[in-house]
Amino acid sequence: MDFVAPKIALSGIAPEIALAATALLVLLADAFIGDRPRTLRPEHGSARPGSGILGNRWHLPLLSLIGFGAAVYLALDAWDRVDATGATTQFSGMIAVDGFSVFVKITLAVFGALTILLGHEYLVRRDLEEGEFFALVLFSVAGMMLMASSADLIVTFLALETFSIALYVLVGYQRSRLDGQEAAMKYFLLGAFSSTFFLLGIALVFGATGSTNLYGEGGITSFLATTPAADLSLLVLGAGLLIVGLGFKVAAVPFHMWTPDAYQGAPSPVTGFMAAGSKLAGFAALLRLLDVVLFPLRWDWRPLVIGIAVVTMIVGSILAVVQDDIKRMLAYSSIAHAGFVFTAVIATNDRGISGALFYLATYGLTIVGAFAIVAVLGGPEERRTRVNDFRGLFAAHPLLAGILTLLMLSLAGVPITSGFVAKLVVFGAAVEAGYTWVVVVGAIASAIAAFFYLRILVVMYMVDAEVAEEPKAVMGPLSIGVIGLSAAATLVLGLFWSPLIELAEKATFFAGP
């Protein structure tokens, strides 16, 4: 028997490899130059001399940022190649190298780098250990990137678990916080529960088609093309379970129960990262799966996804109104935003795919900034995150209040912000596909949602005599930089959106059989 050496080209997953290698390096470096566990110190919890924000702890974040820079460089390199030769698959059809995956990877690297910057300052201020944090962020971004480029359901599952397991730990990172531990446990139990459904979906798809591969020879695409009028009920059932598993990750109703708890209990930089990154990764897998591979079955899955979209938009918006905690409110708002992106998924046209990419990129940049503001105002254990704690913010920090206003207006979808353009694009795609009524529901949900964003603004600007404790922002150069960047992106993309949309449109080509 001849041994046929498999053809291995690493270029397709070079960004992921770079991130994983950097994560290992960070862990290794942490053992030598990182801080020792502070529990052994007598002065536990107190800031130590010489540990300024950019003091003696800059090695690990710098290393992590270099990792993200390398990932972006390698992704751009892959873009040049697919631009010249067209989309391909690698690793015997396990990895898709196409414009879509490159776009998602670069966006994810940006989110990850912003999280590193925020996380560094957050952890130094609270005197928490850093090495594991950076390594976990790097690992989870690697998993998210793999989600976007997987061309086999098993790779999708592994990627999903890679980023989820890292996020379970990150959510409970601040172990002194009881609510953080609780959030981690809830997120973990529900996440593990939902990923078994995702896995069962893979099993049923495998049972129906005899393959877990999306594009390859005998894969799902070619099965759908060559087996007309076969009994597809098992495949449709499997696809439904895949939607359940991914719907959990993007926080779609009715799989959203973990979202408010995990968002509230997690450290705010992690919350922002979850809102931006895991939504993008989940939707990347959903878009590839539904709008490309299962496109021939669209009449079967579309009713389910329309139902999810409508319920998600309405429930997310309504429950956000009654929230008293700003992190929970932003969590429900992120649920509503998942619903808006779903309207682009059901459009199943190129405009929908590029619109969803644009939406997720702009939403991520906005929400990272919003949670950065929550982090700098929240205090050491993030106890000051109630809406009323923002009372008098304008008087205390006018510029910060102004930026928060901009971000909230963007989340609400008010013109001259990126959120408005993004909503316009996804709703436009759905109208083009003939789902005007879904867009009408979305518009109603946006109107409801505007109420609670405005509530924060009212509280913030209210000149109130009985301010119990004035909001106090504790921020260093890194937080200021990230918040400023997020605000700039929100404003600039609201005014000059066409370059990013054109990039997203250029990115909507997929590897094929």
């Binding site: 896995l199 049923l204 049972g207």
Partner: protein, 102 residues
């Protein structure tokens, strides 16, 4: 040698998965819930192996290895989270963790 029809294995897998779902939803101890989730994973493994035999390919059997590895990684993280909660609260009951609501 007579062989058992694969449908029986699928039925067993379905039964195990259902028991896992019901158990995970009704039990109150985090560790027991986690055990039921593991049962669900193993039910899916059985389904993979059975489908693999029905199709005459080894793909499904290879998948099982990946699932086992992922499940092991999940156990490590999950038990660590549950233990860290237990150390603070002296309880692994999911009804006791109720700081975060609505």
């Amino acid at each position: 040698m007579t062989s058992v029809s694969p449908e029986y294995f699928l039925a067993l897998a379905g039964l195990m998965f259902t028991i896992g779902v019901v158990g995970a939803l009704t039990r109150r101890n985090a560790i027991v819930i986690f055990m039921f989730i593991e049962l669900m994973l193993n039910a899916v493994n059985l389904a993979f192996v059975t489908f693999s035999r029905m199709h005459g390919t080894v793909d499904g059997q290879v998948v099982v290895f990946f699932v086992l590895v992922v499940a092991a990684a999940e156990v490590v993280v999950g038990l660590a989270i549950i233990i860290s909660i237990f150390r603070r609260r002296r309880s692994a009951n999911v009804d006791d963790v109720n700081l975060l609501k609505w």
